[in-house]
C-alpha cells in the first residue's frame, strides 16, 4: 500500500479533519443541532407569518372602518378581524391567548391591548398597527410620508423571521464548533502528550496552528453553506446587499471563538471540563447576543452587556450584510472587534497555559 506523500500541513489538516468527522458528537453539535433550531424556528415563525393575527375590534374604530379600499385589503390580509362590544371580554381573550390583540378607539387614539407572551407576534402586531396608523395619518393630512422608511424597516425586521434567525443561529453554531473544537484539541492533545510529541517533530508551531485553524474555518464555511442553503430552499430566505462580506466576517468570528476555546482549554484540566467550560461561555452568550430571539425588548443594561460580547457583534455584522441590505463596510467594525477579542484571549490563554495538567 503506498499512498501519496503529503506535506506536513496537509497531513496534519487531514488528520484533524478526519478526527472531527469521525466524532459524532462534534458533528452533531456543530451542524445538526443548530440546524434543528433553524428548522424549528423557521417552521414555527414561517407558519406564523402566513397565519393572520387574530384581532378583536371593540366598538367603532374609525381607523379601520375608514380605510381606503387598497389599505383595507392589506389590513384584512394581515388581521383576522372579529368585532365585539365588550372590552373586558376582549382583553380576557387576548390574555388567554385566544386572540392576539384587541383594539379600541379612545379620544382619537388607537389603543391596542396585547401580551408579550409571544414576543415575535407582539412585535409583528405592533409594527403592523403602527404602519396602518401612520398610513392613515398620512392619508388624513395629505403630508408626504415622513416615517415611511422606518415603517418599512420595522416590518422587514419582524415579519421575516427566517432572515433574523438564520444569521443568529449560524453565529451560535460557529461559536460552538470553533470553541469546542479548540478547547477539546488543546486539552486532548495536551493530555495524550501529542502536543509534546509534535513539539519534537520537525514541524513549526505555525504549521500546526495553521492546520487546526484551516480545518475549523473550513467547517465554519460548510456550516454557512448548509445554513444558507436550508434557509433559502425551505424557508424562503433571501440574501441582500453584500452578503459575501459575511464570509470574511465569519472567518474572523471563527478565530475569535477558537480563542474562547483556547481560554477554556487553558483554565481546565480535562477534555470534558474544557468543552463544558466552552459551552458555559457560549450558550448564555448566544442568548444575550440575540442568536435565538431579538433583544429589542430587553432592558437597557442587558443591551449594554450584550454589546460587550463578541457573538453579538458577529450576529449583528452578519445581519447587516446578509439580510439588512447594508454594504460590506458594515462588517468592518464587527471584524475589528472580533479580531481584538481573538488577540486578547489568545494572549491570555498563552499566559495561562501549562504543559502539565496537575
Amino acid at each position: 500500500m503506498s499512498g501519496p506523500r503529503f506535506g506536513p500541513f496537509l497531513a496534519l489538516s487531514l488528520a484533524i479533519l478526519r478526527g472531527f468527522l469521525r466524532d459524532k458528537s462534534s458533528v452533531f453539535f456543530a451542524i445538526v443541532f443548530p440546524l434543528m433550531f433553524l428548522v424549528l424556528f423557521g417552521g414555527i415563525f414561517g407558519d406564523q407569518t402566513n397565519s393572520k393575527i387574530d384581532l378583536i375590534q371593540v366598538g367603532e374604530v374609525a381607523l379601520v372602518d375608514d380605510l381606503p379600499p387598497e389599505a383595507r385589503e392589506a389590513f384584512q390580509d394581515t388581521f383576522e378581524v372579529t368585532e365585539s362590544d365588550d372590552l373586558d371580554a376582549a382583553v380576557a381573550e387576548v390574555r388567554n391567548g385566544d386572540a392576539d390583540v384587541a383594539i379600541e378607539m379612545v379620544d382619537g387614539r388607537l389603543v391596542a391591548h396585547y401580551t408579550q407572551t409571544d414576543q415575535v407576534k407582539a412585535a409583528v402586531t405592533q409594527g403592523s398597527l403602527r404602519a396602518f396608523v401612520d398610513g392613515a395619518n398620512v392619508a388624513a393630512s395629505g403630508e408626504p410620508p415622513t416615517y415611511s422608511l422606518e415603517v418599512e424597516r420595522g416590518e422587514d425586521k419582524s415579519l421575516q423571521t427566517i432572515e433574523y434567525v438564520t444569521p443568529g443561529l449560524l453565529g451560535w453554531a460557529i461559536a460552538m464548533s470553533a470553541s469546542f473544537g479548540a478547547a477539546a484539541t488543546l486539552q486532548g492533545w495536551r493530555q495524550s502528550k501529542l502536543l509534546r510529541r509534535l513539539q519534537l517533530a520537525p514541524v513549526s508551531t505555525r504549521t500546526i496552528v495553521g492546520a487546526r485553524i484551516s480545518v475549523t474555518v473550513s467547517v465554519a464555511l460548510v456550516q454557512m453553506a448548509i445554513f444558507l442553503g436550508v434557509g433559502a430552499a425551505f424557508f424562503g430566505l433571501t440574501l441582500t446587499g453584500s452578503w459575501w462580506a459575511a464570509v470574511p466576517l465569519l472567518v474572523v468570528g471563527t478565530l475569535c471563538f477558537m480563542s474562547v476555546g483556547l481560554l477554556a482549554g487553558s483554565v481546565t484540566k480535562t477534555t470534558e471540563g474544557a468543552v463544558n467550560m466552552a459551552n458555559f461561555l457560549v450558550l448564555p452568550m448566544a442568548f444575550l447576543s440575540g442568536s435565538f430571539f431579538p433583544l429589542d425588548a430587553a432592558p437597557d443594561w442587558l443591551q449594554t452587556l450584550s454589546k460587550m460580547l463578541p457573538l453579538r457583534w458577529l450576529n449583528d455584522g452578519m445581519l447587516d450584510v446578509m439580510v439588512r441590505g447594508q454594504g460590506p463596510g458594515a462588517a468592518l467594525l464587527p471584524m475589528g472587534i472580533l479580531a481584538t477579542f481573538a488577540i486578547v484571549l489568545t494572549l491570555v490563554s498563552a499566559r495561562l497555559f501549562r504543559w502539565e495538567t496537575s
Binding site: R197, L200, S204
Partner: protein
Amino acid sequence: MGAIEVSDLAIAYGELKAVDGVSFEVAEGEFFGILGPNGAGKTTTLEMIEGLRKPDSGRIRVLGESPWPRRPGLLPRIGVQLQASSFFERLTAREQIHTFAALYAVHSTEADAWLERVGLVDKADTRVEDLSGGQAQRLSIACALVHDPEVVFLDEPTASLDPQARRNLWDLLSGLNDSGRTVVLTTHYMDEAEVLCDRVAIMDQGRVLRLDSPAALIRGLDAPTRITVSPGQLDADEARTLPGVDDADLRADGLVLTTRNPAAVLTRLAEREQLDGVRVQTGTLEDVFLELTGREYRA
C-alpha cells in the same frame, strides 16, 4: 564522542529536586536503560535530553548538539515515544503512522514497512482507540522510528502491559539497536532492564545511584544465592550443618538455603538425592536496587 553526553543535570520544581546532579554518557549503538521507581526523575531526565524541558543547570549534548532551545536540525535525527499514547484521535493505525511519516517528510511506503515490522498489518484499519495496550505501544514505537532516527528515546514502553505483551514487545525492542541506532529506555521493571540493556543507570530521588552493565551491577552486589529445597526433604537445623550453607530458613514453599558457594551445596544435595524440585536463585537487579535504596521497591 558518545551519542549522548549529560553532565551535572539538575532541575527543581519548587522545593522538590526532581533531577539532582545527573551525569552519564551513552555510546553510539548502545542500548541504555534508566531504571527506577515512579517519581525517581527518569521521565524528567529524558524530557530534558529530548529538549522538552530546560534544565536549571547542567550540560546536555545529543549527537553533539544542545537540544535546548528547540533545534529543528536535530529533531529528524531523534525519535521519541512519550509515556502516554500520543496519537491523533480517531485515526486508524495506518493513518496515524502515515501522518507521522508526513511530519518527517518520509514516504508512506516506509510507514507501511514499519507497520509490518511491528506486526500491525492486520490492525492497519483499526482506530487507535480500539487497539490493545500492547498494539498501541507497538504503533507508538513504530511512529517514533518511522524516520529511521539515529537516537531513539522510549519512555516506559511496557508500563501497564500484561506479561505476555511485555515479552512480545521485548523481542521488538531488543533488535532496535542492531543497525547501530542508540536506544535510551526508561523502565521500572528490573527484569526488563536486565534483558534489554547494555548498561543501566539506577535512579532514585533524582540521582543516579549506580551505572553499569546489568551483569556487573549484580556481580558488584555480591548477593548470596538462594537455593530452595522442596518441603519435607531436609530439616533446617541439619541443613545449617551442610558445608557452604550460611543460613537456612523454612518457608511455605520449602526450605531456603542461603549460600555463597552454590556449587558445593548443590553437590551435597545431589549426593543426598534431594535435588527434586530444587530452585536456584541468584541476585537480580531487584536485589541491587533494594540494596542501593535500602527500602521496599515501589513500583
